[in-house]
């Protein structure tokens, strides 16, 4: 399985994501550049956390229109797997690969702590290694994680079993406590918490490993 992680100007979790992936996948992960107009042959693309383009205009708005994103969207529409974490989730909504929008946290503060999450569905290549209904702990660190979605869209996601993670104690006001969501084809996942920061006992937890193990199982 070949994976790559995109670096945009202002991305700061790209290296952490590559390190976490490499530790579980057991092979080098490619560093992709925002201005590239071609992608190497890949099975998985990661869009990392950070402050791409300074969060200017709207979080993830400019990154979603970076040259590489036309290729990433094409890749996803062909069934390629895409994992967007934090700013990556924002970019995926701005690129139209996931529904809804991420707004300023309801409490207005930047939230930076480890939070409990429910793994709502194990029926995805991102969550199959977790027992469904499993409770895990992952760090969050964001100012604009308030996931806005219409009630109609929430119902649709529930019907299609596309809510991947839910906050147990909602830290940002997200609709229906949604922390992570799958695209219609189940090959795209966006989530605000940082699984790549919970892959090493040295950094306080390893509940993030399951997500990368799921991908390894699903994609080889």
């Amino acid at each position: 399985m070949r994976a790559g992680v995109v670096t945009f100007p202002g991305s700061n979790c790209d290296r952490d994501l590559r390190v976490a992936m490499e530790a579980v996948f057991g092979r080098p992960v490619e560093a992709l550049w925002h201005a590239d107009t071609e992608l190497p042959r890949l099975d998985l693309i990661g869009l990392p956390g950070g402050f791409s383009y300074g969060d200017y205009l709207r979080c993830g708005a400019i990154a979603a229109r970076a040259p590489i994103m036309a290729e990433v969207v094409r890749f996803a529409r062909r069934g390629g797997h895409v994992l967007g974490i934090c700013n990556g989730f924002q970019i995926l909504t701005e690129a139209g690969l996931l529904p809804g929008a991420l707004l300023r946290n309801l409490g207005l503060s930047f939230v930076c702590r480890t939070v409990p999450l429910d793994v709502v569905t194990a029926a995805s290549p991102f969550t199959s290694a977790y027992p469904a209904g499993d409770r895990i702990a992952l760090p969050v660190a964001h100012h604009d994680g308030n996931y806005m979605l219409s009630q109609e869209e929430v119902r649709r996601l529930e019907d299609e079993d596309r809510i991947a993670f839910r906050y147990v104690d909602n830290p940002n006001g997200s609709t229906a406590d949604i922390a992570g969501v799958l695209g219609a084809g189940r090959n795209v996942l966006g989530m605000m918490p940082h699984p790549e920061r919970a892959c090493d006992p040295l950094t306080g937890g390893t509940d993030g490993v399951g997500l990368f193990r799921s991908l390894l199982e699903a994609l080889g």
């Binding site: 205009l57 708005a61 229109r65 701005e94 929008a101 707004l103 309801l106």
Partner: protein, 80 residues
């Protein structure tokens, strides 16, 4: 030609910053502030040949980048 683009949250989108501003005004003693809404204003200087072309171009900019249709509406005004 100059174009002004006013971008607002759609009705129903909660703006906690606007609410915080309203509360701050209240706690400073300004009575009777029933609501605060923020509008993002962009001013563009264009090399367009005529108003129609300018407006069409700016509309495309709004649709493709400047406003997120999921949560925002936009209003364009042109001036020479």
């Amino acid at each position: 030609m100059k174009a002004r683009v006013a971008i607002r949250y759609r009705p129903g989108v909660l703006d906690p910053e606007a609410r915080a501003i309203a509360r701050a005004l209240g706690s400073m003693g300004f009575a009777g502030v029933r609501g605060v809404a923020r509008t993002r204003l962009l001013e563009l200087e264009l090399e367009a040949r005529d108003r129609q072309e300018a407006e069409a171009q700016v509309r495309r900019m709004c649709e493709r980048l400047l406003a997120n249709p999921v949560i925002e509406t936009y209003e364009i005004s042109l001036m020479e």
